[in-house]
């Protein structure tokens, strides 16, 4: 057991945990951040995806001790007040979910993709997202949602550039 400092969604947390425990377990049990989901425990479904220093990572196979000096973003940290992140808004608008259990991980992966590639084509989206499973089978809607979010982010950035 050790006391670890974690930087999550712009806040600093102090957590007593075995450094070998998965980040997912610490998020869900110690911090009650239950938006990140358990799906397989071996990094094969993406339901637990979070951003570590901006990159998508499977929190179920990430030891909490390895991320204590990194910036962690979870689904709870995406919206700014009432303002949804463009990817969240796009998922909502595209109806890109059924049961929604994969949605947090899908959105986090999509945010990471758009950070890396602001206007991905369909095959780039498929390649990047292939590690995320939606058992309800809403993949085609998720692809459209990511494309919509890319367009929305693009236009926001363009406006920013003019200003």
């Amino acid at each position: 057991m050790a006391t670890l400092r974690l930087a999550i969604n712009g806040k600093s947390y102090s957590v007593d945990s075995d450094p070998q425990t998965s980040l997912l377990t610490v998020l869900r049990e110690n911090l009650d951040l239950t938006g990140s989901k358990y799906g397989c425990g071996e990094g094969m479904c993406g339901a637990c995806t979070v951003l570590i220093d901006g990159k998508a990572q499977r929190s179920c196979v990430t030891r909490v001790g390895s991320v204590s000096d990194k910036q962690i973003t979870t689904i709870e940290g995406l919206a700014v007040g009432e303002q949804l992140h463009p990817v969240q808004q796009a998922f909502l608008d595209a109806g890109a979910m059924q049961c929604g259990y994969c949605t947090s991980g899908m959105i986090m992966s999509a945010v990471a993709l758009l950070k890396k590639n602001p206007s991905p084509n369909e095959s780039q989206i498929v390649d990047f997202m292939d590690g995320n499973v939606c058992r309800c089978g809403t993949y085609s809607r998720i692809v459209s949602a990511i494309q919509k979010a890319a367009t929305a982010q693009g236009s926001t950035m363009a406006k920013g550039a003019i200003r």
């Binding site: 049990e29 998922f91 929604g100 309800c136």
Partner: protein
């Protein structure tokens, strides 16, 4: 006319749809309603028409108790808020939204004013469970009636207040308006201080589907924002103060018996340990500590040799339990004389089709949180049958059902796989010993191993056909996979259709569309084999033998969208499959591409035409059809459970392939809206045409006929 054709084909009994043991009817005194709901108007929906007739005479009644045979009720509060209570549950099929639309339509209130309380055994009326695509044809209709009755009560209140004829008043947007005198009153003002109850009138005219304004439209998922922000609390996210995490020791093999156990070390590290018969479990303050305690237990098990997936289909044929079927019906269907018709047919064909066990793999595994207050048990759990789980808990703990409350937060899907209450019982047993709330969440391996599977099956088809393409005889034997969708909708004068129950080597149960997937795979594959035999076009051959107008229409609509008859390039193949299930009609056309070098089969495009009566929410309907096709791809192409001697060999996501983004074909959906036909469900039927469509397309591309699901777990060459 066409509707009659379909309704003449009865819903077939299906033994693998797990059911509640003893239906229990909610009984509630009317005063109880207002005690927990507050003042306002309550309209109850009554199950039996006879009771409706008896109870609804006066319309408004005071004092007496309510009818017992209630299946839903609706409350309009003093704040104008509408709360609807139904035992149905939300598992991703989006009924929270479509039922809200139905209420909004009839009651004339915005969807935002409506809250649905679902699947809480204390607050909602009894419900058998959410399965079999029954919510839309039954609950949707009931709630529309209830909402319409509430609206009429509100209009009557306004009419009494203004002393005018109710017929001159209109309800809209949460208000009753008098257009003549240009005055209006909010529902909230009308319900103030009221304690009115009403049973559903027998004949309350509903708004015709053609005139729907809210229903019939696409609406964003109710509470969708909670889902995209991670705020929604699924069953596995539930938490209580002082809660412990529970883990259960799993036997080394199915049906194993515990021969020795040592739990001392687990107790020494501070876990609460339960050893009760074959049940061994632990509870500890963190899941990590519970895992450690479980690992510290030493146990030995003994089990008998068991069948393996390698010999599965032989096993199924040899282990029938014919004649021991407790339901005693639905096993045989005979028309005409099959044997003479087969011997006199121009062509006779025989083929055997097989279907493997597959797993539901709901992304949220089974989960439950249990707490005891004295002898009162409360459990939050993910299940399609909260009332069924309540019965199981009452039975397991020898307590009356009214001491058990089961709540079902909208869960991470089920697909027929969460009818049972294993985690609820486990959490409750551990909580009773620990005297604290306990949460049990299954690991993915546990979910793969200790849940239940879609039944495997062997299906033999023998058919006779004339040179002109008329099918004269049809014989079909299904071993184990189930009787759903076993009867043929093709017009064949001589039929023998038999279902043979088998002692299954694995625990099996409901799965989205049940055996309809297997039976349609066999039937629709064989239809193509017959068409090939008589050298007829597959579509023409089907239509020649099909009278049902609704089915003909979906086949023709899908063919048109697909461009059936177009020329193909090397490696390309086209195929179709379709049918009738759960009152819906589907035709699915698939295009595949087979790489002749690698043997890789890629499903490139899928066109579905679906008709389920009047459409309630077109976008959600498309979502269900697309989802059925994507999920159906797994069972069609590569999903199969491997097992040996009581153990699952591929019970992890790294070993069991499910459809991913890269498997996604181009999906096109044609919706046929029949506003003249009552709405039925859409979560299951759209799945059944896909597997045969792909098998037929692979044959079209390569000349290879595949008769086993999954079709190409290792590509075509290895298959």
């Amino acid at each position: 006319m066409s509707a009659k054709t379909n309704s003449a084909l009865p819903l077939e009994p299906e033994r693998y749809e797990l059911r509640a043991a003893a239906p229990y009817r909610f009984d509630l005194d009317r005063r109880d309603f207002f005690r927990f709901l507050g003042a306002g108007i309550v309209v109850v929906s009554v199950l039996k028409p006879t009771i409706v007739a008896q109870e609804s005479g006066s319309g408004r009644r005071r004092g007496e108790s309510l009818p017992k045979e209630i299946d839903a009720w609706l409350h309009v509060g003093e704040d104008g808020k509408v709360t609807v209570y139904t035992g149905k549950v939300e598992v991703g099929q989006n009924i929270r939204t479509s039922l809200s639309q139905a209420v909004a339509e009839e009651l004339h209130v915005p969807i935002s004013k409506i809250e649905l309380v679902m699947g809480d055994t204390k607050l909602t009326p009894f419900d058998m469970g959410t399965f079999g695509s029954r919510t839309t044809p039954t609950m949707n209709l009931q709630l529309r009636k209830v909402a319409a009755a509430a609206r009429d009560t509100l209009i009557a209140l306004a009419a009494a207040q203004w002393k005018v004829d109710a017929h001159q008043l209109i309800a809209s947007d949460g208000k009753v308006t008098d257009p003549h005198l240009k005055r209006s009153v909010e529902y909230a003002a009308l319900t103030k201080g009221q304690q009115l109850t009403q049973s559903l009138p027998a004949e309350d005219p509903l708004i015709a589907a053609a005139d729907w304004k809210v229903a019939g439209q696409s609406t964003t998922k109710v509470e969708g924002r909670e889902f995209v922000t991670g705020q929604h609390r699924y069953p596995s996210d539930q938490k209580l103060p002082d809660m412990l995490y529970g883990k259960v020791l799993r036997p080394a093999a199915f049906d194993a018996t515990l021969t020795s156990i040592d739990t001392q070390k687990a107790e020494q590290i501070g876990a609460s340990v339960v050893h009760d018969g074959n049940f061994v479990g632990v509870a500890a303050p963190t899941s990590k500590a519970a895992e450690a305690a479980l690992a510290a237990i030493h146990a030995e098990w003994k089990s008998d040799p068991q069948a393996s997936s390698k010999e599965l289909f032989d096993y199924l044929r040899k282990n029938t339990t014919d004649g021991n079927d407790p339901t005693g019906d639905g096993d045989r269907y005979d028309v005409g004389s099959v044997d003479p018709a087969l011997s006199s047919a121009d062509h006779k064909s025989q083929a055997t089709y097989t279907v493997s066990y597959i797993a539901h793999v709901p992304l949220e595994p089974r989960a439950a949180l249990a707490k005891w207050d004295g002898d009162q048990l409360t459990v939050w759990t993910g299940t399609q049958r909260p009332f069924g789980v309540r019965s199981q808990l009452a039975e397991a703990f020898h307590i009356p059902e009214d001491q058990v409350r089961v709540l079902m937060p909208d869960m991470g899907s089920g697909y027929g796989g969460k009818h049972t209450g294993e985690t609820a019982i486990e959490a409750a047993r551990l909580a009773r010993a620990a005297k604290r709330p306990v949460k049990v969440v299954w690991t993915r391996e546990e979910e793969f191993t200790w849940a239940y599977f879609r039944p495997a099956g062997v299906i033999d088809v023998t058919a006779g056909v004339r040179n002109d393409g008329t099918i004269t005889a049809w014989e079909m034997h299904n071993y184990n996979s189930g009787s759903a969708g076993i009867r043929t909708y093709y017009d064949i004068p001589n039929q023998r259709i038999v279902f043979h129950p088998v002692k299954s080597p694995l625990r099996q149960g409901s799965y989205r569309a049940l055996a309809a997937t297997a039976n349609h795979f066999a039937r629709e594959s064989h239809m193509d084999e017959l068409a090939h035999t008589v050298k007829m076009d597959s579509l023409e051959f089907r239509l020649k033998n099909l009278k049902d107008e609704r089915l003909r229409t979906v086949f023709q609509a899908a063919a048109k969208q697909f461009g059936w008859g177009k020329t193909k390039s090397p490696g390309q193949g086209f195929g179709m499959g379709g049918g009738y299930e759960k009152l819906g009609n589907i035709a699915t056309f698939a295009e595949v591409n087979v790489d002749s070098k690698s043997g890789e089969v890629k499903v490139v495009r899928v066109v579905s035409a679906f008709e389920c009566g009047a459409i309630v929410n077109p976008d959600n309907l498309r979502n269900q059809i697309e989802g059925s096709n994507v999920q159906g791809l797994g069972g069609a192409l590569f999903e199969a459970i491997e097992f040996d001697n009581g153990k699952i060999l591929n019970g992890r996501l790294s070993q069991y392939r499910v459809p991913r983004f890269s498997d996604l074909p181009k999906l096109e959906t044609v919706l046929l809206d029949r506003k003249d036909i009552p709405s039925v469900g859409a979560g299951e039927c759209p799945m059944i045409g896909l597997a045969p469509a792909i098998a037929n397309a692979i044959f079209d591309a390569t000349g290879t006929r595949l008769r086993a699901l999954p079709l190409v777990p290792n590509g075509l060459k290895a298959a």
